[in-house]
């Protein structure tokens, strides 16, 4: 799948079939996430892949944002030690950006591999951290629910380019060059 095609056709998928995702594909998607740009190459992330159905059922109780029944969830965590490697006051903000970029890589690679996914921020962070035995300094930031799509939603729509993109000066939407 071409990159632009993947970007334009990706949707947030929340309804999945029960077919499990092969481990090789899960590894491939996390590898793709690792290729995301990272400020100062800090790579302030860590990934925990949940595959066991019993664990998944329990995790859904702590993460209301998991709407359907995914067959895998990747918990993207902030590694605080790596996030502060650069020592700047923007470290934490940059780490959040990096994690978002990694999540997008994960979602796009899932889509390219015929899977679907959805990024989820609605979960109880301290409960998830405790339930998954995350060590000190490793905090869950984003969950990515994954599976084979049982239903592909239509596009929720996006703003027109002219509403949000300007050239040279704010408010200038077009003009001859």
């Amino acid at each position: 799948m071409e990159v632009l095609e993947a970007i334009y056709s990706r949707r947030s998928v929340r309804k999945f079939t029960a077919e499990p995702i092969p481990d090789a594909l899960l590894s491939k998607m996390v590898e793709a996430a690792l290729q995301a740009p990272s400020g100062g190459n800090a790579q302030p992330w860590a990934f925990l892949v949940i595959r066991e159905p019993s664990c998944m059922r329990q995790l859904r109780a702590l993460a209301p944002g998991i709407i359907g029944k995914p067959t895998a969830v990747v918990v993207i965590c902030l590694d605080k030690k790596r996030a502060t490697t650069l020592g700047g006051s923007l470290d934490e903000m940059m780490a959040g950006v990096d994690i978002g970029l990694a999540a997008q890589n994960l979602l796009l690679s899932a889509h390219a591999l015929g899977l679907g996914g959805c990024a989820i921020a609605s979960f109880h962070p301290s409960s998830v951290k405790s339930f998954l035995d995350l060590p000190e300094g490793i905090d869950p930031v984003l969950l990515v629910a994954l599976g084979y799509p049982a239903q592909l939603p239509s596009s929720p729509g996006r703003m027109d380019l002219r509403e949000v993109c300007f050239f040279e000066r704010w408010g200038v939407t077009e003009g001859a060059r």
Partner: protein, 94 residues
């Protein structure tokens, strides 16, 4: 069934906390999703009927559709009315 209900309890508790910081529209959606999860439990344990099946189908349309489809309140209104009719039809059997 106890396990399913227990997990639903966790969902309700974590939702209660999360909603304080989430967009306002998530509130009705979260409760509709909770209703959907309860209906799933009822179906799985042989406690469903035509009403619960239909209600679950309608909730599924909302929760698995595009984000911010915005029909959550409308659906909640409609299901509430249908629920009232259902109660009336059931009479004292409920």
């Amino acid at each position: 069934m106890r396990d399913d209900l227990f997990l639903l309890l966790g969902y309700l508790l974590t939702s209660a906390r999360g909603l304080a910081e989430e967009p306002k529209s998530y509130g009705p959606f979260r409760l509709l999703d909770a209703a959907g999860r309860l209906l799933e439990i009822m179906e799985e344990h042989g406690m469903g009927d035509d009403f619960t099946k239909r209600a679950l189908e309608q909730i599924d349309e909302e929760r698995f559709g595009p984000s911010h489809k915005g029909k959550g309140l409308e659906l909640a209104d409609q299901l509430s009315r249908e629920f009232a009719e259902y109660l009336k039809a059931k009479g004292s059997a409920t």
